[in-house]
């Protein structure tokens, strides 16, 4: 519980934390060590009762919040405010942030609380120390957004944006960027509303020009607000998306592509699947060469092999002339079906059945065996058990057929899944099953024809 406050102390206690983790070894956590370190820090003296009771108070608040006892939490909060007057300057500096976090949560959920009291609280906390003004402003704005008060939120952000007090630190710069970006996001929202309005209007309508002018103005302000933020490494999905949408709307395709490429490929940014998806979707609209699309999805494949775009990736690879691409196409399909969430994906099974047959016909047995070797221990139980045969047949006969075909190819005609499906007498699928039986006999990897 006390870790929470330690964490919030920020740079002040950083050194201490490093020390602790060194002492306790990598990846291990000893809660008693913290108290031990604390007593060493104060020279073995007894901790003041003030410190003891306020930290107990903090745990009581956290417990109450966890149990959603807002009333109790407010009661303890009443006493916890005195940490603002703590004689320990470290704790005094950390207090406003803790109080803001706990207090805003209480006010958010407490049945007796209302918009007005939250605003009063936020304004009070903003002015308690210069350190937290921006952070609180931003969170305050988010609260207002949550309650649909767009105008107030925007005003709040504008106020925060122009606020200058104390030293300029790098953390503050990021905060300012964030605030501006959120402001930009709000502007984007009005812009897209206007755009909707515009699309409903006739070009000859007398209001059309005015609205169009409006739309243009908004986009200009927004792009300035957002562009600063998305240059800083981080995950900025909503900002990037809206920014690109506006760039595209005004025909700046190159600009949009640059933003997206940068967002996806800059190594300083954290690995983010969405970045690649955005880029792929964007490129698809431009009708680029296939190889370009393949290279984008290749990265996505490495990050999220189970993504639904992988089937699209497979079709791209299948059509490719390069042999290695075609081999990758098989890998991708196997990869998708490794995931429990995709076991009932009929398209994936259909692709796999068809592709396996193609590949085996094309004499690439080695490719199949390479993929199969690592899976032969667990796929039979995972996909091709008797139980699955029964339930698949019951739920979706088409899926069962595709799966049976794959099972037959991979495990031979003796496989239980395959046999179960064969035994089922189905009028419409009868022909198909017969064809399948023939193919299995011919191509199954279990009885390689020599």
């Amino acid at each position: 519980m006390s870790d929470f406050s330690e964490e919030l102390k920020g740079p002040v206690t950083d050194d201490e934390e490093v020390e602790t983790s060194v002492l306790s070894g990598a990846g291990m956590h000893f809660p008693w060590l913290q108290t031990y370190v604390e007593t060493v820090a104060i020279g073995g003296k007894r901790r003041k009762d003030f410190a003891q009771t306020t930290s107990a108070c903090l745990s009581f608040i956290q417990e109450a919040l966890l149990k959603h006892q807002w009333q109790q939490a407010a009661e303890y909060m009443y006493s916890y405010f005195q940490t603002l007057e703590d004689s320990d300057s470290y704790k005094r500096q950390a207090a406003p942030e803790i109080i803001w976090k706990l207090g805003s949560k209480i006010l958010f959920y407490h049945p007796k609380s209302n918009m007005e009291s939250f605003n009063t609280f936020a304004n009070r906390m903003k002015n308690i120390g210069v350190m937290n003004y921006l952070k609180i402003s931003l969170q305050h704005a988010l609260y207002l957004l949550h309650h649909g008060m767009l105008k107030d939120a925007k005003r709040n952000l504008s106020e925060a944006e122009t606020w200058r007090h104390g030293e300029n630190t790098s953390s503050r710069e990021i905060l300012i960027n964030l605030i501006q970006a959120y402001k930009g996001l709000l502007q984007y929202y009005t812009w897209s509303e206007k755009k909707m309005e515009l699309s409903k209007l006739d070009k000859d309508d007398y209001a059309y020009n005015a609205v169009a002018q409006d739309v243009f103005n908004h986009s200009w302000k927004t792009s300035a607000n957002i562009s600063a933020l998305i240059k800083i490494p981080g995950v900025w999905d909503p900002f990037v998306k809206s920014y690109v949408e506006m760039l595209e709307f005004y025909g700046d395709r190159d600009g949009a592509q640059e933003v997206l490429t940068n967002y996806a490929y800059d190594e300083k940014f954290p690995s983010n699947p969405n970045a690649h998806i955005y880029l792929y979707n964007f490129l698809k609209r431009q009708k680029p060469p296939r190889s370009k699309l393949i290279s984008v999805l290749k990265i996505l494949y490495q990050i999220v092999p189970s993504h639904k775009l992988m089937l699209e990736f497979h079709t791209l690879l299948r059509k490719s002339e390069k042999e290695e691409h075609r081999k990758l196409g098989l890998e991708v399909l196997f990869g998708v079906l490794d995931f429990a969430g995709c076991t009932k994906n009929i398209t994936a099974w259909k692709y796999l059945a068809k592709y396996l047959k193609n590949i085996l016909m094309g004499n690439h047995l080695a490719w199949v065996q390479e993929e199969w070797n690592s899976r032969k221990n667990w796929w039979p139980g995972f996909h091709f058990s008797y139980f699955w045969a029964k339930s698949d047949w019951k739920e979706d006969t088409a899926l069962a057929c595709e799966k049976a075909f794959v099972a037959g190819l991979l495990l031979g005609k003796g496989c239980r899944y395959f046999r179960y499906i064969l035994k089922q007498d189905h009028q419409i699928l009868g022909k198909k099953i017969k064809r399948m039986k023939r193919s299995v006999k011919k191509y199954s990897i279990v009885n390689p024809r020599l």
């Binding site: 007894r46 003041k48 009762d49 003030f50 410190a51 009771t53 306020t54 107990a56 108070c57 009581f60 807002w70 009333q71 407010a74 009661e75 303890y76 909060m77 009443y78 006493s79 405010f81 005195q82 603002l84 007057e85 004689s87 109080i99 207090g103 209480i106 006010l107 407490h110 007796k112 609380s113 009291s117 009063t120 609280f121 009070r124 308690i128």
Partner: protein, 620 residues
Amino acid sequence: MDLEEAEEFKERCTQCAAVSWGLTDEGKYYCTSCHNVTERYQEVTNTDLIPNTQIKALNRGLKKKNNTEKGWDWYVCEGFQYILYQQAEALKNLGVGPELKNDVLHNFWKRYLQKSKQAYCKNPVYTTGRKPTVLEDNLSHSDWASEPELLSDVSCPPFLESGAESQSDIHTRKPFPVSKASQSETSVCSGSLDGVEYSQRKEKGIVKMTMPQTLAFCYLSLLWQREAITLSDLLRRFKELFINGEKLLELQMPKTCSLRTFLLPLVRFVEEDHIPYINAFQHFPEQMKLYGRDRGIFGIESWPDYEDIYKKTVEVGTFLDLPRFPDITEDCYLHPNILCMKYLMEVNLPDEMHSLTCHVVKMTGMGEVDFLTFDPIAKMAKTVKYDVQAVAIIVVVLKLLFLLDDSFEWSLSNLAEKHNEKNKKDKPWFDFRKWYQIMKKAFDEKKQKWEEARAKYLWKSEKPLYYSFVDKPVAYKKREMVVNLQKQFSTLVESTATAGKKSPSSFQFNWTEEDTDRTCFHGHSLQGVLKEKGQSLLTKNSLYWLSTQKFCRCYCTHVTTYEESNYSLSYQFILNLFSFLLRIKTSLLHEEVSLVEKKLFEKKYSVKRKKSRSKKVRRH
């Protein structure tokens, strides 16, 4: 120029209607008489102002107003005197006789001032101390021939008079012809005249006053004042029980005893704010300003600790060179027999156990006057921890009866349970298991409430303490902030939760026959654990284990360490229960139990063997 700007603002203060404005370092106007900070900012007309000038303006502005701003000149010992006065008043309100305040504490304090050479003597320490450190500009006053008299006059405690008079007394004698203008510019400063020097002073052989020391003084006077005091509500509760309970107990009750005079409630009463201690300074007269070093002397952020106050009491007693205290005899409240009775009732144990505790007291000689009476001039000055000792005796008796080895007490409970089922009409046998279940629940609830109350404790006074005048507006603003936030959150709290202070009581648990949920064991009999043998009664349990096998040979206070896991669970529970009642550390009680055992089994200790022993009990 900046000062003029502060004076440009001519509106009346919304809180006190005064027109006396200063500037905070943020450029806001604040009222110098009531510290109300307005939302009005100083209008900056000159753009070439650098931000620091505002702070300078603050300093310059204050320098002018020194005489009114800084309040009276006062000494640290006066502050303590004021606090002692208030504590004595509080004790009086709790039912202690007025002699305590007027005679005992007053005399102790006078003696202290004399012994520590602060007053009532030829050369008070101040004549040497104040010149170099406290006042830099007192050259003009260096010919203060009359200072000793003046000081002794000042220090003369106002206790002799009634409360109101003494207040006015302080008012009339205050204005000292000393100005401390130069102080606000030095880094170390204080509101009191000698605060800086006082916090640095370290003289051998002199006990310096501190906040815990005030409680030591209180306790010392309570110890002296052990004689008849009107019986309070507590005794009424005793009487109610006697009507239903045993006759023999009534005989043992002394007719007169001072119920409140023991250390335990003193510590607890402080915690419950019945005695001014934390933030006691906030009741100082308006003109006694505290800041800077005074903060370290009077501002306190911990509750008093039993052992600490105990040690300080002995220390003060020795320092004051007090004669032997009035005898503590059997009719005194501090006598173990009476305290044992009280604690037996408090923890819901059978009244019959009292005769056993009396027996232990007799055998160990702990009830003797010489043992109990505090004699500061004796070679080894020590006073008995009356309450801890009484509780330790009860623990020893429990061990004698039930062994507390996590098995014997439960088998005795089985017997008692069976017997009680069969004989529903008779007086029930005491069932240890049932007692444990009820006490455990009550104890856990009490402890939980106590912890919650502690977590909610408000430490900060309405008068914020600040380091220097520059900090003052900041400190007041912080305070205002906290008050505003509290005001806001108090609307979220149900009104029932903010009930008033509970009335002080020396009992924490209440057990009455009427309460059906919580069985009262006072009337239960010990027949199940005793057996007849001829004319006497023996305990069924014939074994005993010692809490400590070995004592240190040296005279160190460390008797034994208490490692919880080494002891039986029932013993742990009992220690936890009692130490919670007394608000002491479990190890302290364990130590006391060991000491009682040492006295009880003195002969056997030399053999150093785990012993078996049966104890004779007088037939009753």
